[in-house]
């Protein structure tokens, strides 16, 4: 049996059993869904709404306070609004849009119609994320989330001298993350390669443009104008809040697939891939963050990236209970369960950003997934 340093190669029989055990874990979790999960997501919605009002309220009120109070209210308002946007985008929006709560039948939590407080439309997200990223996770040329077309994070991606500026691009991309995600589905590169006309691209951009304008007016015109003389207090507060959300979501998401030990795959892997193969690929292509309840909520449970990739449409609040079982199954089948503190995982991401700014060449392909495909 050939092995890599981290993952044992599974024979056909083992693979089938691994898949069956993951399926069984899913089935017993789904069978238990009910009022507890409905209550959880409603509480998250409440938290989003109340923190938004509190954050915006503090920014507004701060504009009318004397100087020392102004700074305190401005800072608290911006941070709380940032937290509200993080909760809205991650634990609420991302999970609801996955259809995790469709079983409730409540139109408010319907994955097909939910819209979130971010410049990207949920429609384009459903395509780039729910379909492409989750189906073709970490497959070069199919999963656009590998570096988002901006960064070179794996040696399999082509190097060019322009990559030397990558640490700077990475920083700018972090600050503007929501904008990058919003236009991801447009694949603007097609324009330069002559695969699409500017007019057609403009047509495809229209829904996102409408959403962007709406978000810009809300955060940088409507609420600042409400403050009257405090226009700039609210304007800058909202800017900070959006920035906090951008940097945090970027950090969490990068920790999910770009740590040192994650694997990426060639296109050939998806040919005739069984569900069990797909499970194995999700485990090898994802990495978790270890932490408690607060980290789970604030990362939208992407701290359980492995569980999320195995069960993208199971309510995320269940991942914490499923994780020990997944970890135990992985251990029995010799599959490395990639987890660590946020500091550890993100420093590995930063190293990738720096390392692959310079030329690098792929190590010999991991034989583990290749071998069993025969």
């Amino acid at each position: 049996m050939s092995t890599t340093s981290l993952h044992r190669t599974l024979n056909a029989d083992e693979l089938q059993h691994f898949g069956a055990e993951i399926d069984a874990l899913r089935a017993r979790t789904v069978a238990d869904l009910g009022a507890r999960d409905a209550r959880y997501i409603r509480n998250i919605l409440k938290a989003v709404r109340f923190t938004e009002v509190l954050g915006r309220g503090l920014l507004l009120a701060g504009a009318f306070m004397p100087a020392p109070w102004l700074t305190a209210a401005w800072l608290a308002g911006a941070v709380i609004l940032g937290i509200s946007k993080i909760l809205d985008n991650m634990e609420l929006g991302h999970n609801v849009i996955h259809g995790q709560f469709d079983w409730m039948g409540d139109p408010q939590f319907n994955g097909k119609t939910f819209e979130w407080d971010i410049v990207g439309t949920s429609d384009s997200w459903r395509k780039t994320h729910n379909f492409r990223h989750h189906t073709y996770t970490n497959v070069h040329g199919m999963d656009d989330d590998i570096g988002y077309g901006v960064l070179r994070l794996f040696p399999e991606q082509p190097w060019s001298p322009g990559r030397l500026g990558q640490p700077l691009y990475a920083l700018i991309f972090a600050l503007l993350f929501q904008w990058g995600v919003a236009i991801q589905d447009l694949r603007v590169g097609r324009l330069f390669k002559g695969r699409i006309t500017g007019k057609e691209l403009g047509r495809q951009f229209a829904p996102t443009r409408r959403k962007m304008v709406r978000q810009l007016i809300k955060d940088y015109v409507f609420f600042p104008l409400l403050a009257g003389p405090g226009f700039f207090t609210v304007f800058t507060g909202n800017l900070i809040a959006n920035g906090i959300r951008n940097v945090w979501t970027y950090t969490v998401i990068f920790c999910g697939h770009f740590t040192t030990d994650v694997e990426t795959f060639p296109k050939s892997i998806v040919k005739n891939e069984t569900r069990a193969h797909w499970y194995v690929r999700q485990v090898r292509g994802s990495s978790n963050l270890s932490g408690g309840f607060l980290l789970n909520v604030m990362t939208g449970n992407l701290s359980h990236q492995i569980e999320h990739h195995l069960f993208p449409d199971v309510p995320a609040n269940r991942y914490v209970d499923m994780a020990p079982a997944v970890r135990e199954i992985c251990a029995r089948y010799g599959q490395h369960y990639n987890t660590g503190s946020m500091t550890r995982q993100f420093s590995q991401v930063l190293w990738r950003i720096v390392r692959h700014a310079f030329p690098s060449s792929p190590a010999k392909l991991h034989p583990s997934l290749q071998a069993k495909r025969g």
Partner: protein, 372 residues
């Protein structure tokens, strides 16, 4: 006699002010904050608040609902889809209105608890005044004509009394323009609904006659009959059927018998059955496992061809939109792209591609593809 516009219990959404602010409003955000003040307030959703709860009979409860302005009108004799959350899952069933909706728009539904019934158990046991339910489409053709006349015969079995009670009340409100006889079958006396009101109406209104029939009660009172519906029983209670307009409501088997007994004799026959009649022909040997491909959700499920698609999908953990579960409200209709389905009620097979099927009364005979 139709219902008047429901009284307002929701903020304005159609006035000039509402049109002005509408582009600024996210309905779900509005609903969240409005719902904290009054759970029946919504920007666009048809919600109704339970304002009273009455025990009507054994395992039977009447809920008085105050709809908000987004709810449609409903006429006596019609059903309305009612949705509530049971263990986190929104569950929809249709119930007959039992009152004559008046100026305040209030409607009453009378629910008999069905053993193992998710929503009926919830509505009968858990729901209290102040709770909110969502209302959906109202439907049903068993409504009053503009000028009711002639001799009418209502045949009600069990919870089949509900649409016929609202029609009886509507006729009473018009000072009984027809000669009406109501025959009402129940198993035991404790299950009789509305009995005091019906007796009082029979006493005061010479054109209204009431016959109560108990099928499973050992002793009976002077004005109670016994036994299942039969030719002899109808003859002794009602007399000649000729010239009578018959409305029957009850379980599928009861309605089939009522139809057979009155066919060709009565002037007309209208009916609603609560449970689908037994399948025309389900050869047990023909039941196999078929694959149902769901296009929108991208899933493929293996289900038994012996059950309705709705039940099969629900058993797989899906929650497709559904309502009456008897094939009349069309809430669960979806497009079938390929494969053969069979109507459970009629036995008709459908092999055409790209036709609509009602999940609740269709079974898959072959592998099929659905647009859900």
């Amino acid at each position: 006699m139709s219902a008047t516009a429901p009284a307002s219990s929701a903020p304005p959404t159609s006035g000039p002010l509402a049109r002005l602010v509408a582009p600024l409003i996210d309905p779900s955000v509005f609903d969240f904050w409005a719902g904290l003040v009054n759970p029946a307030w919504s920007w666009a959703r048809p919600l109704a608040r339970v304002v009273a709860r009455r025990i009507e009979a054994l395992d039977t409860v009447t809920l008085v609902l105050q709809p908000n302005r987004h709810c449609g009108k409903v006429k006596p004799g019609q059903h309305i889809n009612v949705s509530a959350e049971v263990d986190g899952r929104r569950t929809t069933r249709s119930y007959s209105v039992t009152n004559v909706p008046g100026r305040d728009g209030r409607i009453e539904i009378t629910i008999k608890r069905v053993e193992g019934g998710k929503l009926s158990t919830h509505l009968c046991r858990d729901v209290r005044a102040g709770d909110v339910v969502e209302l959906g489409l109202s439907f049903g053709d068993m409504t009053l004509p503009v000028h009711p006349q002639g001799q009418w015969l209502f045949l009600a079995a069990g919870s089949g009394i509900t649409p016929l009670m609202s029609l009886t009340r509507a006729l009473a409100a018009q000072n009984m323009p027809v000669d009406l006889t109501l025959v009402y079958w129940v198993k035991t006396r404790a299950e009789l609904c509305f009995v005091r009101e019906l007796r009082a109406l029979a006493a005061s209104q010479p054109r209204f006659k009431l016959h109560l029939v108990l099928t499973h009660e050992a002793d009976r009172l002077a004005d109670e009959a016994q036994g299942f519906i039969s030719h002899e029983q109808l003859a002794s209670l009602v007399g000649a059927l000729s010239g009578k307009q018959v409305f029957a409501c009850g379980p599928g088997g009861f309605v089939d018998t009522a139809r057979a007994l009155t066919a060709g004799v009565a002037r007309s026959f209208m009916a609603e059955g609560f449970t689908p009649s037994a399948p025309a022909s389900t050869d047990p040997a023909a039941i196999t496992t078929v694959r149902v491909q769901l296009l929108k959700s991208g899933r493929a499920l293996d289900v038994s061809s012996g059950q309705s698609l709705l039940v099969a999908l629900e058993q797989q953990g899906l929650n497709p939109a559904s309502g009456c579960r008897m094939g009349i409200c069309h809430t669960c209709v979806c497009t079938k792209h390929s494969g053969t389905t069979q109507d459970i009620n009629t036995g008709d097979q459908d092999t055409e591609p790209d036709t609509t099927v009602r999940l609740c009364v269709s079974r898959a005979c072959t592998d099929i593809t659905l647009d859900i």
